[in-house]
């Protein structure tokens, strides 16, 4: 009974705007940004380096290097603020958390492409 209730609440939070992707994939995340009255879409492209949490609380971390500075953003997977997640490139990696990318720069931080 109690577990059903939790599942029900969690599924009510989920939506199908996020496609299936894994760590190592490059994604373009479209985020809704509200500025005063207006709402616009902001794009953020980078490599998915981790997934955390389960159910409706699942999040993913996207890393990119912007002007030589590493930037990581954590997105709640089922946030209504996510307008769309585009998969740009599939990556072939051997672990689920790619934190080692933080220590790598340039050529060394490339990820092999995965064939569909």
């Amino acid at each position: 009974m109690a577990t059903d209730l939790m599942n029900l609440i969690e599924t009510s939070q989920k939506h199908d705007k996020v496609p299936d992707f894994t760590a190592g994939d490059t994604v373009n995340v479209h985020v809704r940004v509200v500025e005063g009255e207006k709402e616009r879409i902001q794009q953020y492209q980078g490599v998915v380096i981790a997934f955390k949490g389960s159910g409706a609380r699942r999040t993913f971390t996207v890393r990119k290097v912007s002007n030589g500075v590493g930037v990581e953003r954590i997105f709640p997977m089922y946030s209504p603020k996510l307008a769309m997640v585009e998969i740009v490139r599939l990556g072939n990696v051997r672990r689920s958390k790619l934190y080692y990318l933080r220590d790598l720069r340039g050529k060394a931080s490339r990820i092999k492409e995965r064939r569909r």
């Binding site: 109690a2 209730l5 939790m6 609440i9 939070q13 509200v34």
Partner: protein
Amino acid sequence: MSKGLLGIKVGMTSIFDKDGNHFPCTVIEVEPNVVTQIRTKERDGYSAVQLALGNKKEKRTAKSMRGHFEAAGTTPKRHVREFPLSESELSLGDEIRLEDVFTEGEIINVSGTSKGKGFQGVVKRHKFRGVNDATHGQHNRQRAPGSIGAGSDPSRVFKGMRMAGRMGTDRVTIKNLKVMRVMSDQNAILVIGAVPGPINGLVELRKKQ
């Protein structure tokens, strides 16, 4: 109507609102509470309502309580608590539902019995700071309480001195929790923030006075 209800803590999750804000929420299951006694100004000097929740085996119920429940025309219940009553017509055996008492967006107080922590030292139990130094001559004193009073003058330790001991299983009230959602079909209420006690523990939801 009663100014509070009894519920069972189900667990925590997080909820997005329409604007995409993310809130940590506690899910509390509030099955219809049964009125088992009504206290009136004339007879008891104050007005309140006694509510009961959760079924209990008849053979596990004391005879005196069996009679009490029988008088209200209901089966034996596990939890019984009293809540203040704002004037309204309630009679014994009535069921009070969640949506009769609470609405979405309301600010409420939630009481429960906190989780037991066992025998704990002063650092955890009373937020003592301990000795924040492992060096400068310290040896296994990092979480010690220090002095507990003067020497031969009082020649005793004052009552109420904060020391190590059993922690938890206290009655705790968390005030000003916002009701995020009232799910009347599921008899469940979601409040923003944490609520005292373990999962499956009894919690009392009270309207703000």
